[in-house]
């Protein structure tokens, strides 16, 4: 098994899917010659040419809308939103169109588009290059939202997203791009969309989270293990629709649940997780559900000390687990 970075997993998945299926193509701002502002599409333009790696005009609604049209024609568009913060001009195409194409046509048409978008903070991006945007879309039936944490999950889930016959929003944590490395099999594989994954087995406290915070939880769990606190970690991987069974099982496992998101708290994806637990696990809980999230302010500032104040960190996760364990 090779060790690759999170962003390399993105690039490999794209490249392999484009090699496998000539209907797969990439479109977005600067995805061509430049290989993407993060270099996620690096090398694709050279390998597949400008017909399948398309630099679009600066217009997100068109990128998604044109992608939907191409998907209706039978192709497999992978649209890049340069930053998740900039996908809002395409909100109408995503929510009114992509998500509802199958339903409104009574299964006659479908819109199998994959929308990739780097999200998340901690990169000196300020208010508009740091946001977690999933909650805006995580209430729209017809959409699936994938947010992987490891190179292995990235590669397997991005392939499944591209092959999915329904639209998928695929959020990539931009700070994880080069920070997170991990093993991926040499042979071809895919992973199921909609399935959460236990990233660590434990008995005292359950942490349910996704994206980069999975690594914060893993780091905290290591430390806490030394103090005899055993942490169970569930990685949601798909944040909409939720893997309810996995959530319920994980909550029951320890009876103490910490939910972590880097998004602002109120109305976030972990609110739904909390609701699912509240509906299903009342008599299994030994402590109230706890949520750890960014403050309810628009987004993290650019100035370094302010950004730091805003961010979820391994230390904050560790403290929260400790508090729960001692409850």
């Amino acid at each position: 098994m090779a060790v690759i970075s999170y962003i390399e997993a993105v690039t490999q998945a794209l490249k392999e899917e484009m090699e496998r299926d000539e209907d797969v193509f990439v479109l977005g701002e600067d995805v061509g010659k430049r290989g993407g502002v993060f270099q996620a599409t690096k090398g694709l333009y050279e390998e597949f040419g400008e017909k399948r790696v398309i630099d679009t005009p600066l217009a997100e609604s068109a990128i998604v809308g044109v992608g939907i049209g191409a998907a209706m024609y039978g192709l497999r568009p992978v649209a890049e939103m340069q930053f998740s913060d900039f996908m809002l001009p395409a909100a109408n195409q995503i929510i009114s169109e992509a998500a509802k194409t199958r339903y409104r046509s009574n299964n006659d048409w479908s819109a199998p588009i994959t929308i990739r978008a780097p999200y998340g903070g901690g990169v000196h991006g300020g208010l508009y290059h740091s946001q977690s945007m999933e909650a805006i879309f995580a209430n729209v039936p017809g959409l699936k939202i994938v947010m992987p944490s490891t190179p292995y999950d990235v590669k397997g889930l991005l392939k499944s997203s591209i092959r999915s016959n329904d639209p998928v929003i695929f959020y990539e944590h931009k700070r994880a791009y080069r920070l997170i490395k991990g093993e991926v099999p040499d042979q071809e594989y895919t992973l199921p969309i909609g399935k959460a994954d236990i990233k660590r087995e434990g008995t005292d406290v359950t942490v349910i989270t996704y994206g980069l915070a999975v690594h914060f939880a893993l780091k905290a769990a290591e430390k806490l293990a030394a103090d005899g606190i055993s942490t169970h970690i569930l990685d949601l991987r798909t944040v909409y629709p939720l893997d309810k069974e996995a959530v319920i099982d994980a909550a029951r496992k320890t009876g103490k649940v910490l939910l972590v998101t880097e998004d602002t708290k109120e109305g976030s994806v972990i609110s739904e997780v909390a609701a699912t637990i509240a509906e299903n696990c009342l008599f299994d809980l030994d402590a109230p559900v706890r949520r750890l999230a960014a403050p309810d302010a628009p987004s993290m500032p650019y100035a370094a000390p302010l950004e730091k104040q805003f961010l979820i960190t391994p230390e904050k996760v560790e403290q929260a687990i400790r508090d729960l364990a001692e409850f």
Partner: protein, 341 residues
């Protein structure tokens, strides 16, 4: 156009030059008239409480049918908007299907009653599924053309929308994308002079929607939307350009909406009966009929036969649709995502 010696009528035959036989233009008229008669029936059904909602095509049939005739009805992809009764009929939707659509019954091929009437879409006809937020179909049509270009398929992608809708961001983004990539798309604006209550001069500050073509480096033309032959000629030119790799076109059909916006609207709150009546004399269904009469293609006999055929077709379709079952209420849970088996 020069008159030849053999033209004796006061009215010039304009359709032969376009390659149409007399039977062709009669077919054209038949479809226009069918659209009109369906529309009239729908208002009656609405007023009778049998269907909750009507959106009307009246005043736009000529442009719609003429356009459809200029496209390849075996190959091209189309994204018609909610008023395009004439277009979809010309494209292969049946009268019965139109009535199933308006009664929102399970057999409606457009959405099985899920969507409001006029939200067309049928995959077997290469007709994209239409939604309510205006102008979202424009980028879809561009995507069709892009995909065809990638695959090397020689088709045209055709999309319609209203003049009010041409002020949406999606109009701009779609046109620009098509222009930059020189895609075979025909954008046809059906300018009926109103967006619900808001008249043209409160919607646009340019004289013609087609004036916007230049900003996308594309071909632009405004034509008489009451004349199916003018529509045909304009769309044909745009289609020829598209096939020759000359990129997209922005066409504008100059029409007038003869009915209220929908059955929920009272147009007398924002325009006068006099204004509407004044426009009735340009009504394409009437003027094209007159053209065919003048050329003795639409003889009294033919006309009566046509009307009778259409009426009985609509009668049958209405009965059928009225009696057809609704979709199973439990079906509301279906097709949110792909169902694997």
């Amino acid at each position: 156009m020069m008159k030849t010696g053999e033209e004796e009528n006061k009215v010039e035959n304009r359709h032969h030059a376009l390659g149409f036989s007399d039977q062709d233009v009669l077919n054209m008229y038949r479809i226009m008239l069918t659209a009109r008669r369906i529309d009239e029936r729908l208002w009656l059904l609405n007023r009778a409480g049998k269907i909750p909602f009507v959106v009307s095509c009246q005043g736009q049939e000529a442009a719609q049918v003429g356009a459809a005739f200029a496209l390849n009805r075996e190959k091209d992809y189309v994204a018609p908007y909610y008023r395009d009764y004439g277009f979809v009929l010309a494209w292969g939707m049946t009268v019965r299907e139109m009535m199933l659509n308006n009664f929102a019954k399970a057999e409606d091929p457009n959405s099985a009653g899920r969507q409001m009437p006029g939200h067309f879409g049928d995959r077997k006809l290469r007709m994209l599924t239409h939604s309510s937020p205006v102008t979202t179909q424009n980028p879809h049509a561009v995507g069709i053309a892009l995909a065809a270009k990638i695959k090397g398929d020689d088709i045209v992608s055709f999309v319609t929308f209203g003049e009010g809708s041409s002020n949406q961001g999606d109009f701009h983004e779609a046109c620009n994308f098509a222009g930059v990539h020189k895609l075979p798309v025909i954008f046809m604006c059906e300018n009926n002079h109103y967006a619900i209550s808001v008249g043209l001069k409160h919607q646009l500050a340019c004289a013609h929607v087609s004036d916007r073509a230049a900003g996308y480096g594309m071909f632009g033309r405004t034509f008489d939307g009451n004349d199916p032959l003018a529509a045909y000629a304009a769309v044909k030119e745009a289609a020829d350009r598209a096939h020759r790799g000359e990129g997209p076109s922005l066409l504008e059909a100059n029409c007038y909406r003869l009915q209220p916006h929908t059955s929920d609207d009272n147009d007398m709150t924002y325009r006068t009966k006099e204004e509407v009546d004044a426009h009735k004399k340009y009504d394409g269904v009437l003027t094209f009929a007159q053209y065919l009469r003048d050329l003795e293609i639409l003889t009294p006999d033919v006309e009566q036969q046509l009307e009778e055929q259409i009426r009985s077709e609509i009668d049958e379709a209405t009965d059928y649709a009225e009696q057809a079952p609704f979709a199973d209420p439990d079906s509301v849970l279906r097709y949110v995502y792909e169902e694997k088996d």
